[in-house]
Symmetry: C2
């Protein structure tokens, strides 16, 4: 179906202009004042049209643990996360639906889902997420989350010899599983892309990374992984490789212009130079980094070094919403406290660029979407500027990025398909989704972690934290 959006505000180099935009055969056919009407008319008056954003890193199944785990560092948080029962495929389908809906309603048209799978039912797990994203119509980059080392191996040893139980799935099985997922689900023309995406060096052997790079080369697929999210991971890399994780990733051939790296909190100057040289993308997940106390990623340094940056929400167990506008806001203003020279600070327009074309670039698809450019695919979002949260009228992008828009998305198109109209998702029944999420869960009234105690003493010792600390009352 074709559309003509009439009289929408769009950003131009000097301010804003009011234009019409034709969407024909899924692409942006023309942007100019007073265009001929093609297809359905959409009233763009008092609305702002922007390219759709990319939710460049999340884990949709964590929706089921939203709000549940108290703030603790990643290494303890993940021990608690592993306590939850494996989901069933229907739950994975529902959490992918909700992730898609929240992403759409906060300006996103693409999602990179570093997908937690049900042990032994991995293909079904991927199928459930693919089905959800296809139904909603959002552009989906599915990155099956795979490791070949056990969780206990992800904490530095600190020189103490520790035995680890081997991981449940072998390296070769993981590579075969990824290959199968590519053959079965990778349909880039239909908006579904499979990404080789090891969990991270802290949980993967070199053989796993090399096998995934080989599949990425063979099928021209973007690569994705976690990188140096915590100080503990920085220490671990030096224990394992005698060099930084970034240097090791480069040696494994993992870094290129189609590689995106979630977090990147603990990089030094030499690491930054490697990312700049290899043209890899940093995915900034500011809210998760704060909630887990991982640190503040040096995003202004990355931008100054010419590194491409994108924004992600991360999974709901560590960043308890998929509201991209929140990640964009905090991911832009957070860095002002890291550099006294305000001339380096991120402007609201720069933040929008990072969220849209930065995300597309990290997936090797900057030519296809991510900007208001004639010929690109129509991944577009129309914001209602008469929403109370965006009033009074001042600078529309300033309001959108620095304010706290509440239900301000009026319409969304991905690949030219309209997925949201008048603020409501048109492709699925969101009330049904709410009811199902409600029915399949219950209030947690006084949960106590059983597993944290097993790793906490070692973690505190390795991280040089005192054994007993008195908190405030």
């Amino acid at each position: 179906m074709d559309f003509t959006i009439q009289s929408a505000l769009v950003p131009v180099e000097q301010g804003y202009e009011t234009v019409d935009v034709q969407l024909i055969d899924g692409r942006i056919a023309a942007i100019a004042p007073s265009l001929e009407i093609v297809g359905a008319v959409v009233d763009g008056r008092n609305k702002l049209l922007l390219p759709g954003f990319v939710n460049a890193h999340t884990h949709s199944p964590e929706l089921w643990q939203r709000g549940m785990i108290p703030p603790t560092p990643l290494e303890l948080w993940i021990a608690e996360l592993y306590e939850f029962e494996p989901l069933d495929p229907e739950q994975l389908y529902l959490s992918a639906l909700a992730t898609a809906v929240e992403t759409l309603l906060s300006g996103g048209t693409s999602v990179v889902d570093h997908l937690v799978m049900i042990p032994g039912r991995e293909v079904e797990s991927i199928a459930a997420a693919v089905r959800a994203y296809r139904e909603v119509g959002i552009r989906a980059f599915i990155a099956p989350l795979m490791q070949d080392e056990p969780l206990t191996a992800s904490i530095p040893s600190g020189g103490v010899k520790r035995e680890h139980i081997p991981y449940q799935r072998s390296t070769q099985e993981s590579i075969e599983l990824l290959h199968k997922a590519i053959q079965e689900f990778h349909r880039p023309d239909e908006g579904v892309v499979i990404l080789p995406a090891p969990t991270g060096l802290q949980l993967g052997t070199d053989a796993l990374f090399e096998g995934f790079v080989e599949l990425s080369d063979r099928y021209t697929l973007p690569l994705h992984t976690h990188l140096l999210e915590t100080k503990a991971q920085q220490m671990l890399a030096h224990e394992k490789y005698g060099c930084s994780a970034v240097k090791h990733l480069k040696e494994l051939g993992f870094l290129s212009s189609r590689t995106s790296l979630a977090h990147c909190v603990w990089l030094d100057e030499a690491d930054i130079a490697i990312l700049a040289e290899t043209q890899a993308t940093v995915v900034h997940n500011p809210l998760s980094n704060l909630r887990l106390g991982s640190g503040i990623a040096p995003i202004l340094k990355y931008l100054q070094a010419g590194i491409n940056v994108a924004f992600g929400c991360d999974g709901c167990a560590s960043s308890d919403s998929q509201d991209l506008l929140e990640a964009i806001k905090i991911g832009s203003i957070l860095h002002n406290v890291t550099d006294f020279d305000y001339r380096h600070w991120m402007t609201p327009r720069k933040a929008i660029e990072i969220a849209a074309i930065g995300g597309a670039t990290g997936l090797g698809m900057a030519d296809e979407f991510g900007s208001l450019t004639v010929g690109k695919q129509a991944d577009l979002v129309l914001y209602d500027l008469k929403n109370l949260s965006l009033l009074p009228r001042t600078d529309p992008i300033g309001l959108l990025v620095l304010g706290r828009p509440a239900q301000a998305v009026d319409s969304v198109w991905a690949k030219g398909n309209r997925l949201v109209a008048n603020g409501s998702v048109t492709t699925i029944n969101v009330d049904d989704l709410r009811q199902q999420l409600f029915d399949r869960s219950q209030w947690i009234t006084n949960r106590q972690s059983t597993k944290i105690a097993q790793v906490e003493a070692h973690y505190r010792s390795v991280m040089n934290l005192p054994e007993q600390i008195k908190g405030y009352s």
Copy 2:
């Protein structure tokens, strides 16, 4: 009007309980399962009942500059803010209405409005804000913003001799104006309190502070001011007083258990000890502190020292929303990156406490509201836990604080009056408000500051920033 809220979830020491709550004559009359029905019945099923929060520091007139000023440090930002034409009283009325509405719809039942006034029309300005808050029904703490030194005096001299044009209103006139405001508008029984509230030491003489303390003592009023928001203010205090601003405030008799201090970013250990000893309250405005690059206030240290803390949104020109839940979330997780020992981190329950009883304490009203306690005034908020942003069901307070609730407030009572029902404000017409904000504003397409250049060279020199910096492209 009386109410019985039936079957609402409330937090108790170990988890949650389902209870009924009777609101009689503006107070909480009973909290227990299966109470007799008194007054109107409100269905609390699948809803969470919490005490109303306090928006403990804002400047409502800045709503008119929401989203407008690009991120810059306070000292330059304020120069730009002063470029805008003074408002008229009707605009002040509208911005106070919108501040009240956004506060209510994010869980707040009280607002501390450090009110910018129209020069020469100060009493009319206060009257406009009082009228707005009375119409909405929110509890209003109006703190007329007064200084007696000119803006140029707020930047450290760095040893350079500078001449300042005297401020437009004398010290004595300001004290008389405050006295008049107290006599005309201070009606604590009706939910309107006037606070003596000098802008801050960076813009006030000792005589102004002493005059305000005298009026606070005479009428038993809470005190409010900005304190050490920026490094420049820390430097200035040492230039002016030869000691820290906190020590000087104490010497002026400004610090007591009914004093609340906005920002408190640049305090040292000795300052912290003074706040603890005097029982003054810190109002944390995390979003404004990030946007202006002021720094991260050492909130965990304050809590460990036993200092009372409250949350504020700050004015919309520096923190472009009055969404208290956003301030609470960022104001709790932000500090995790300042202390590796997670046992010091703020839990979601602690954040809720700070937002409610912390705010009431800072205003000397902890006996009157701020908790679910029989006998206290009914300042209450009911959250709809079937909202998509709060699903699936896990820990309700974890979801509320760590998530990103979207339109999740179902009902609000202040002083026992129901101000919000079924998610809509009942006391004013919000659509009319939106239309008026729209009609009285216009899009800013390419604004250039005229005044920043006048102070920028001096600011950069004093703050030791290089003259020319190349930003990223």
